[in-house]
């Protein structure tokens, strides 16, 4: 089922020096429950696209539909996770997790219990009263994801969620986040410039060309076993085949 439809999205940036066309007629669809990556060369407007999709930016033309309706009427169905965890250092883990609930005035017994259960499920309950500075990078990223999930979003947008981490924790956190998202059954769209990351975690990779970018190609990723974790996928023989293919496509889009 098509959950999200991106239709003829174009975006121009204006500055005194002139006009830059960032996105040029982008079209794709996202099915319910899928994990999709948007891959493109740096500066191709991936984050711009994500910000249009979640209603923070107004596109120059085109529209985004959620279940056939304008996304603007469905903004609370979206959860957003940034490259940096952006936890508030002056708040405890718990206060960070319920921040969104508090702002949206949804803090009640039911939502508190949900947040508590999320912390418990993902091994953070005993750090509830700790401050973010006492946590590792991976734990912080998990707290950030739980802060997003506490709002019960239908779709998750991840903007290069692992690139602020060192290589080793990137692999570990990638597995963590993947497992959480899979357990919570969320449709997810991730933006990344990391080919290996895109292959290891997603079911479909959408490759953008360089600016003004449009969808170059959509490549479904299938390892034949849906239960493989991102780390296991990296060790699968098919992985390098996908890598080479995506590498070529990206390379051409860089020309």
């Amino acid at each position: 089922m098509c959950l999200l439809k991106i239709s003829n999205i174009s975006m121009n940036y204006h500055s005194i020096k002139g006009e830059t066309q960032a996105l040029n007629n982008i079209n794709f669809e996202v099915d319910d429950g899928k994990f999709i990556s948007i891959l493109g060369p740096s500066g191709c407007g991936k984050s711009t696209l994500l910000n249009i999709m979640n209603g923070l930016l107004e596109p120059s033309s085109g529209y985004v539909l959620y279940k056939g309706e304008s996304i603007k009427n469905n903004l609370d169905k979206i959860g957003y996770m940034f490259q940096k965890d952006h936890l508030f250092e002056w708040n405890t883990v718990w206060e960070n997790v319920i921040l969104g609930l508090k702002i949206k005035k949804q803090l009640n017994d039911e939502s508190k219990e949900r947040a508590n259960a999320l912390l418990d499920n993902y091994g953070l309950l005993r750090f509830k009263n700790h401050y973010p500075s006492e946590l590792s990078g991976g734990m912080r990223q998990r707290v950030a994801l739980i802060r997003t999930l506490a709002l019960k979003p239908e779709i998750l947008f991840l903007d290069e969620p692992f690139s602020a981490l060192d290589y080793q924790s990137r692999l570990l956190v990638c597995d963590d986040v993947y497992n959480i998202i899979k357990t919570e059954k969320k449709t997810t769209i991730m933006v990344t410039h990391d080919i290996a990351e895109a292959i290891s975690i997603s079911q479909k990779v959408i490759i953008l060309s360089k600016r003004p970018s449009n969808v170059k190609i959509e490549i479904p990723i299938d390892f034949g076993n849906a239960d493989l974790t991102p780390f296991q996928r990296r060790k699968n023989p098919l992985f390098s085949d996908y890598f080479n293919r995506l590498w070529k496509e990206l390379d051409q889009s860089n020309e």
Partner: protein, 272 residues
Amino acid sequence: MSKKHEIHLFSKEHEVYLKKVKSTKRKIVITRVLILVIFIASWQIAASLKWIDPFLTSSPSRVIKSFISLYEDGSLFKHIGITCYETILGFSLGTILGALTAIILWSFPFVSKILDPYLVVLNALPKVALAPIIIFWIGNGMPAIIVIALLISVVTTIISVLTGFNEIDKEKIMLMNTFRASKMQILRYLIFPYSIPILISALKINVGLSWVGVIMGEFLVAKNGLGFLIVYGGQVAQLDMVMMSIVTLSIIAFFMYEIVAFVEKGLVKEKN
């Protein structure tokens, strides 16, 4: 939790290290005190032996005498109290008004842009130059002194707090936007807590600035306060009284700074 354990688990090497840290700290404190003692002692000796003219330089014993005589006629604490009152009111009003103005300017970036050159000029202007005008407008008395002290600190506060607000990671504001937070909510949950350390460092600077404003104001108008004692002492050639007031001023300024630093420790702890 584990701290108690660690104390027993320290290796010899670590104990030596800790001892070294402690002894360095002790040396610093001792040397500090020593400098003060030597300074006071040589001042006293030089004055007693007439190497310097105590009429011009006063001496520690004369300062103490002057202190006691003012204490005995009951006016010492009145002067100290008045000066402290003016200073505290000056810097707290300056900080509060400055912070409020910064919040308003942050909420309306358009207004902030318009006012930017005016703020720069106001900041560069020595506010003490306005003192005669303020005395004319407000009258010869304490309110004028407080306004001078306030004026000196308010503009720097606006500028430093506003700079602090604008240094917040744009993505953190975007995060708040993904929660569809209102401007008030962004202020309450993000900007305020983020700015507490900035506010405190502004407060620290303002304590010093307010002393300047208050003493300056007292020079010009007052009939009470330490600034008045300094000017009066100068006029009647009572340098003991001048020195005594300066010494008292230094001691109070030191304690006020320490109090602010203590408040800072309490508010900023655990955050980093």
